[in-house]
């Protein structure tokens, strides 16, 4: 195989070894084990070893499987959307705003819908910040409004309009049953219906969020686990600047 076409690796190049675990609604026993094997075959796996089978009672059985998959991916064919603005630090960002934008930036953030997980949003917005980086509130060139948890989409938009926000920051942590997708889609739809979409930079964050997903949902950027406040601020200010040039250019 070519170096760019890769398979899973256990201890020998391209051996294709993977581990799986799952539960079946079937009583533990030989038949369960066989069902587990056949299921793995359907996933295209070979050399299926059911190394562990545990009776979970009430007609459920848990399996641990090691197996070989002959599937591969071609690394050359993979392109990923990524945020390519330069990451600056607190001081540089403030300077950037002063020098290039020459007015304060306004942002508003919220955990929307029924989501009450504020820790992640606070990590980005609060003074204290996260992982050694100050939050947006601390930036003297940024006006930050943190609306906290369980904010209705309408309310957030209302506030954004009121404070003339450059960027709206939405945090979504609860993703069970894709509740976030529903809520976020609604958010963008309202903005579009009201003709407001283009007035704001839309930023999405949360542990299950990727930039790609954010784009799909109609946001401008997405930030996942471990995001630091300055990464977000860097993106915002550069985007504000770029957009302002475009507008001028267009005038």
């Amino acid at each position: 195989m070519k170096d760019n076409i890769i398979r899973a690796y256990g201890d020998t190049y391209n051996d294709g070894k993977i581990q799986l675990s799952f539960t079946f609604p079937v009583k533990q026993g030989l038949k369960a084990a066989e069902a587990c094997k056949r299921y793995c075959f359907k996933l295209g796996l070979e050399d299926v070893e059911v190394v562990h089978m545990k009776d979970l009672k009430e007609g459920f059985t848990f399996f641990v499987v090691y197996a070989v998959s002959k599937e591969s991916v071609n690394l050359d064919k993979i392109t990923v959307a990524k945020i390519d603005t330069e990451i600056m630090d607190y001081y540089k960002i403030n300077d950037y705003i002063k020098e290039k934008i020459n007015r304060k930036i306004n942002v508003v953030g919220a955990c929307t819908g029924t989501d009450a997980h504020t820790v992640g949003l606070d990590a980005i917005l609060n003074m204290k910040g996260y992982d050694g980086e100050y939050g947006l509130e601390r930036y003297h060139e940024i006006n930050t409004v943190n609306m906290g948890s369980q904010v209705a989409n309408e309310k957030l938009i209302e506030t954004a309009v009121k404070i003339k926000a450059d960027a709206i920051l939405v945090s979504q942590v609860v993703t069970q049953k894709n509740i976030h997708i529903k809520n976020l889609t609604e958010f963008v739809e309202i903005l579009e219906a009201e003709g407001l979409r283009d007035q704001f930079i839309l930023i999405l964050g949360g542990p299950r969020i990727s930039h790609e997903l954010a784009l799909e949902l109609g946001f401008d950027a997405g930030f996942g686990s471990g995001t630091k406040p300055n990464e977000v601020a860097s993106y915002i200010v550069q985007k504000v600047y770029k957009d302002s040039i475009l507008v001028k250019g267009g005038e």
Binding site: S21, F22, T23, K54, L56, K57, E58, F60, F62, T114, D115, A116, T118, V119, Q150, V174, Q176, K177, I179, P207, S225
Partner: protein, 523 residues
């Protein structure tokens, strides 16, 4: 139980003195108030249930009618009691007629106050007798099918569908769980009512309804018979409908309830007075029904820095204990909460965790402490997560904890899958069994890190309680004393449900419970 730490007993007494003065002040502020939810609870106890044609629970419909007329200050039992006397209808029927507009409580003739009280007290005593029967039934079952060894294995089910919950709960119980908690759907705490009937949809949890309580209780009772081990059932007695849920739990023989004096204020932005009044009555009910409460101090650590906030946990436990004891709860019912939440990257973090767990253990020797697992520092690395949960279990067995909420390897990913729960039970069983007696084997060196850390936390707690005692709890909460969260004294949800009591206000159940629980008169 070993006293592994050599604690400054005088400092502990001092803490208790501060706490008493804190509790005195809180009581003074709440004693003259009732709430819509307290009154709904009275109605429920009197036999009102069900919903109207819009799906609104009848207790809400009726209490709202009275409130809208500014007449709730006499207590719902005055109006509804009079209604019962005048119409001779059974409670449920009366409620339906009121809701349908066929009967207007205010236009009925009025019995004498004294007579209404007498009439309603009689019904209340009968009802209380029924609750005592549930307590007896619990005692009987537990003597026939004994409880597991402590620390009890506590797991949650949270599928959103009561029927799916039942499957998972039964499987978990058979695997060895001692306690099943049905997690509530996201944001139920903000509902100013209790949903009705069995439910099969919810996010991150299943609605707490009386029907769901019953379905799960029946399912577990069946497992108890088969496994010959009593399985305790838990739900959430907090939020805007706190006392109503206590009533449901008392009637359906739940064994534990999450029930905290301040959780709603801090984490759900519920109005302070509302919360303090509600928690008081709900705790009387829990006390009477022999239910163990679980307080929510663990939440402080998931929200704020756990090393810096350790002393706030202890301070809050002192307050929860004192407020709890004043509602008739015994120490044996006070499942004070704490959590294993230190950043695992910190060197000797395990020692610091042990210091805290042992400190709490020694200060509240009779309380069935509830120990919460690592959650905040769990990530998608399920293998490391499982190990952290094991260390947590180990900390528990070293320090003689009582209620062990099992950590899940998938904490950062989803509410537990059936196998996650089974693996957690296996984890706890393994650790507890292989080190069952370790607590009586070891002593902590005086002058070691553990001893010093415990001393430090205790000292900081005393200082904090002193400040709170001076400012008052409400003022302190408004300044963000717990979990970095500030709540304005008059802000928050449900403020409009707080009602000043009239001079002849009457709550028959508070009366009956107080008497039997030997709670000294509040005024």
């Amino acid at each position: 139980m070993n006293n592994k730490l050599d604690l400054d007993q005088k400092l502990i007494s001092l803490c208790r003195n501060y706490t008493k003065s804190i509790a005195d002040k809180v009581e003074k502020k709440i004693v003259n108030n009732t709430t819509t939810s307290v009154e709904r609870t009275v109605l429920r106890f009197l036999g009102v249930d069900g919903v109207d044609e819009h799906g609104i629970p009848l207790p809400n419909v009726i209490v709202d009618k009275v409130r809208n007329e500014q007449k709730l200050n006499k207590g719902i039992s005055y109006w509804f009691g009079n209604g019962l006397i005048q119409t001779g209808l059974p409670a449920q029927r009366l409620a339906e007629e009121i809701s349908e507009g066929k009967i207007d409580l205010f236009s009925l003739p009025k019995e004498k106050n004294k007579d209404i009280i007498e009439f309603i007290l009689e019904i209340s005593e009968k009802k209380s007798e029924q609750i005592k029967q549930q307590v007896k039934k619990r005692e009987m079952m537990q003597s026939k099918y004994p409880l597991g060894l402590k620390p009890w294995l506590y797991v949650i089910v949270a599928t959103g569908n009561i029927n799916e919950d039942v499957k998972q709960a039964k499987a978990a119980a058979r695997e060895g769980a001692d306690i099943i908690a049905v997690i509530r759907s996201t944001a139920q705490s903000l509902l100013d009512y209790v949903p009705y009937g069995p439910t099969t949809e919810g996010f991150g949890g299943t609605y707490a309804t009386q029907a769901n309580f019953k379905i799960m209780r029946d399912a577990l009772d069946q497992v108890i018979e088969e496994e010959k081990r009593y399985i305790q059932l838990v739900n959430y007695c907090s939020g805007l409908a706190m006392p109503e849920i206590a009533q449901m739990g008392a009637e359906e023989r739940l064994d534990m309830m999450l029930n905290d004096a301040m959780y709603g204020i801090l984490f759900r932005d519920i109005n302070m007075k509302r919360t303090f009044v509600d928690q008081h009555f709900s705790r009387m009910i829990n006390a009477y029904a022999g239910i163990i409460i679980n307080t929510g101090e663990d939440n402080y650590l998931t929200t704020a820095d756990s090393l810096e906030e350790s002393h706030t946990v202890l301070a809050s436990q002192f307050i929860n204990q004192e407020l709890g004891l004043r509602t008739g709860l015994k120490n044996e019912q006070l499942g004070l909460g704490h959590a294993f939440e230190i950043n695992p990257e910190i060197k000797d973090s395990f020692l610091l965790e042990i210091a805290q767990a042992q400190l709490v253990r020694q200060i509240f020797p009779d309380a069935p402490l509830k120990y919460m697992p690592p959650t905040k520092y769990m990530n998608g690395d399920i293998f490391k997560g499982h190990l952290m949960d094991g260390m947590f279990n180990f900390a528990s067995i070293i320090t003689d904890q009582s209620i062990q909420l099992l950590g899940m390897l998938t904490e950062a990913i989803h509410t537990p899958f059936i196998q996650d729960r089974a693996l957690s039970i296996e984890n706890a069983k393994h650790v507890f069994n292989s080190a069952r007696n370790i607590s009586s084997e070891i002593t902590f060196n005086s002058n070691g890190k553990i001893q010093k850390r415990a001393d430090q936390v205790l000292k900081e707690t005393a200082e904090l309680l002193k400040v709170i005692a001076k400012k008052g709890l409400m003022q302190s909460l408004s300044e963000g004393i717990f979990a970095d969260i500030k709540r304005p004294i008059d802000g928050g949800k449900g403020a409009d449900g707080v009602i000043k009591k009239d001079i002849d206000y009457f709550n028959p159940f508070a009366e009956v419970f107080s008497k039997e629980l030997e709670i000294k008169d509040e005024r």
